[in-house]
Amino acid sequence: MSFDTASTPRLQMRGITKRYPGTLANDRVELSIQPGEIRALLGENGAGKSTLMKIIYGVTQPDEGEIIWHGEPLKMRDPAQARGLGIGMVFQHFSLFETLSVAENIALAMGAAAGTPKQLEPRIREVSQRYGMALEPHRLVHSLSIGERQRVEIVRCLMQDIKLLILDEPTSVLTPQEADELFVTLRHLAAEGCSILFISHKLGEVRALCQSATVLRGGKVSGHCVPTECSDMDLARLMVGAAEGLEASYPKVHGGLTRLRVDDLNWHNADPFGTSLAQCRLEVRSGEIVGIAGVAGNGQDELLALLSGEVRLPSTERERITLDNQPVANLYPDARRQLGLTFVPAERLGHGAVPDMSLADNALLTGFQMGLTRAGMINHGKVMAFADKIIADYAVKTPDAHTTARSLSGGNLQKFILGREILQQPKLLVAAHPTWGVDVGAAAAIHRSLIALRDAGAAILVISEDLDELFQISDRIGALCSGRLSPLAETAQTTPVEVGRWMAGEFEPVTHA
């Protein structure tokens, strides 16, 4: 690459080391980026990407190592100093204030000298038009879509003389089409000389956008490369080491009898910041996995709550959701569980498991209908046996079943929760974001478990934001957008592009078959 020979890098990180209690988040990390370069920072969850970004942006300070900006070593004390140098950061979890307007959010970040929100409005309009990111300065952030919120974050960075833009997994909240639009903006910026550091674990995107990549694994740089010259497998090996299960593909199947039927489900959400569901229709058959894609906040939480029984419809509408032709929409979760529905919620700690209770007690919480209690008394022997079986069958790494749920890693806890639900031999399993924040090895194990359950004849509904995952494991696929559900298609007959359009709401309303 021509960049390697260019004169002074815009930013150099030398020997950056950062320790947190119990972990070495960054271990002698080296990184360098030239003006106008788009560099990817690749790595698994927990590889140390976010820590490195926070160090560049002055949120945390490194224990060792130095930061060199335009050839000058400096200490990055705080984000204000970083912004002053022309470094902008777009966080994965947006740092926006929902109760403030777009202009107020931008004014807050820019400091008092930049002017009042009102004075900034013309410039916000100008910058957002120039880079093709439509924004209305008056609107309150809570009324914006996720994509629009990201635009606010980016425009906020572009309002100043930007030299280096850092984006932390920016596409994880976007539809494929929105991601393409973002890439156009980023290329435009790079052409003007802005350096861009693009954090991701999606290899396709990195190849489409970035001229160079630095890969982190376990806090260390495991390699530098040119993404267009590497295969997915090369990159994946750099990211995770032994690349077991990465290429797994599972045969697609046709389901049998209809297990779950959702028929014209309408539900008004009383929470003004939530989503209401409209005319959702869905069938899940025995022996198949149905995947529901969608950008977060489009009704996933609401649909899950209605399916699990945490939210119920009045009994006049109980036919809206049926399990084996039996109306369940008005039933409480325990009644639905008795009928063979099990549920893996999105939030592991606090919803899927009680953080401060032991694994055994957590196993009892949803498994109590498996004869673990008698006349209201707990049979601790059976509970322990059940918990031990989960731990053994699903390779949960833990000292024993007395360990608290909180002390397990995300992947291990997820394996435990999934195992707990699968061992109850459900007729229908509803799983939300089953591999979110889970390392590749555990994700592959979770996928294999779901496929095995499918092959044993259960109906499975997976709701996920990870389109690659859904294409890998589901037999039929659809998408949620603004509380409406697209038609379902055979996964083998559709493409991520089409599902991406559904995620953006481009589908005809489903009518009665």
Binding site: T60, A80, F97, T99, L100, A109, P117, P272
Partner: protein, 308 residues
């Protein structure tokens, strides 16, 4: 009802509502920044006793007012150190502060109970105070009431118009994001708590130097608690805080009026009226869930530490 009676009712309404308004304005700023300080009652009482003692000993009412404010700030710093510096549970810390303030003020003030003091007298503004009905209410009050008007305007301006208000709101909604943006979360919160302390101290000083110029144990009679409820039921909106405070004042007066006229309603029921009326009205006003969520500080009461 004749017009003189109404004029006097309005006058007394504002006068009675003033201590509540002062505490509530302070707590409003404090809560907007995300800190729930349940120590208002304790800080008020401490302000009241210190203000009284200083004014009585020095002969200067204004020195008393100043020291009442400082007393409130002093207790609020204790709260800030424990609840913000050590990230303790804010509810427990605030409750402890109230218990401490009640006990401390009784202890310090034991020798001063029942001593007479010439407190703040009304200063009628010529001409304006002659306006029928509202003249006396707005322009025939003592100087501390005028001060409460000014403080209300200041707080309204800061919260609704100023950059400082934006910062306070941002810190109260999402301290992590605010910190990532480089805003000094703990410093903002500490200042907000100190402002709350000063206002509670001032409210106490108003009680013991103007409203009933004397010191008695527990003389604030739960106004600190009512102010806390007021802020919540006012949906953290500054104009509603004034409305609620004066409404409370009005209801307090009505029960005196009713007794004066000789209505045959049991006194205990009438004494309940201000509390019930204030809360009912504000609950009715705060039904709009969208608006309430827009104004409520999301991170209220949650301990926060830098770094994570």
């Amino acid at each position: 009802m004749d017009i003189d009676l109404l004029t006097n009712i309005f006058y007394a309404m504002v006068r009675t509502g003033t201590p509540l308004l002062l505490v509530a304005l302070g707590e409003l700023v404090c809560e907007k920044s995300g800190v729930l300080n349940l120590g208002q009652e304790g800080m008020m009482l401490f302000g009241a006793v210190i203000g009284f003692i200083v004014a009585f000993s020095s002969g200067s009412l204004w020195l008393g007012v100043l020291c009442a404010c400082l007393a409130g700030v002093l207790l609020s710093l204790l709260f800030a150190f424990v609840a913000l510096g050590l990230s303790s549970n804010q509810v427990a810390t605030g409750l402890a502060l109230t218990i401490f303030g009640v006990g401390l003020s009784s202890f310090i003030g034991a020798a001063w109970v029942g001593k007479p003091l010439a407190g703040f007298e009304p200063v009628a503004i010529p001409l304006l105070s002659e306006i029928p009905l509202l003249g006396r209410m707005l322009f025939g009050q003592d100087l501390l009431v005028y001060l409460s008007f000014a403080l209300f305007a200041l707080v309204a301006w800061v919260i609704l118009k100023s950059r400082a208000g934006l910062i306070i709101q941002a810190v109260g909604e999402n301290p992590n994001a605010a910190s990532a943006m480089g805003l000094p979360v703990l410093r903002v919160r500490t200042l907000a708590v100190m402002f709350g302390g000063a206002m509670a101290g001032l409210a106490g000083g108003y009680m013991s130097l103007a409203y009933t110029p004397m010191w008695a144990e527990n003389m604030t009679a739960g106004r600190g608690w009512i102010a806390l409820a007021l802020v919540v039921f006012a949906s953290w909106r500054v104009f509603r805080v004034v409305l609620g405070a004066w409404l409370f004042g009005l209801a307090s007066i009505l029960h005196l009026v009713a007794q004066g006229i000789g209505l045959a309603i049991p006194g205990n029921l009438l004494a309940m009226l201000p509390y019930v009326a204030t809360i009912v009205v504000l609950v009715v006003l705060s039904r709009d869930a969208i608006k309430t969520r827009l104004y409520a500080p999301v991170s209220l009461g949650q301990p926060w530490k830098a770094g994570h």
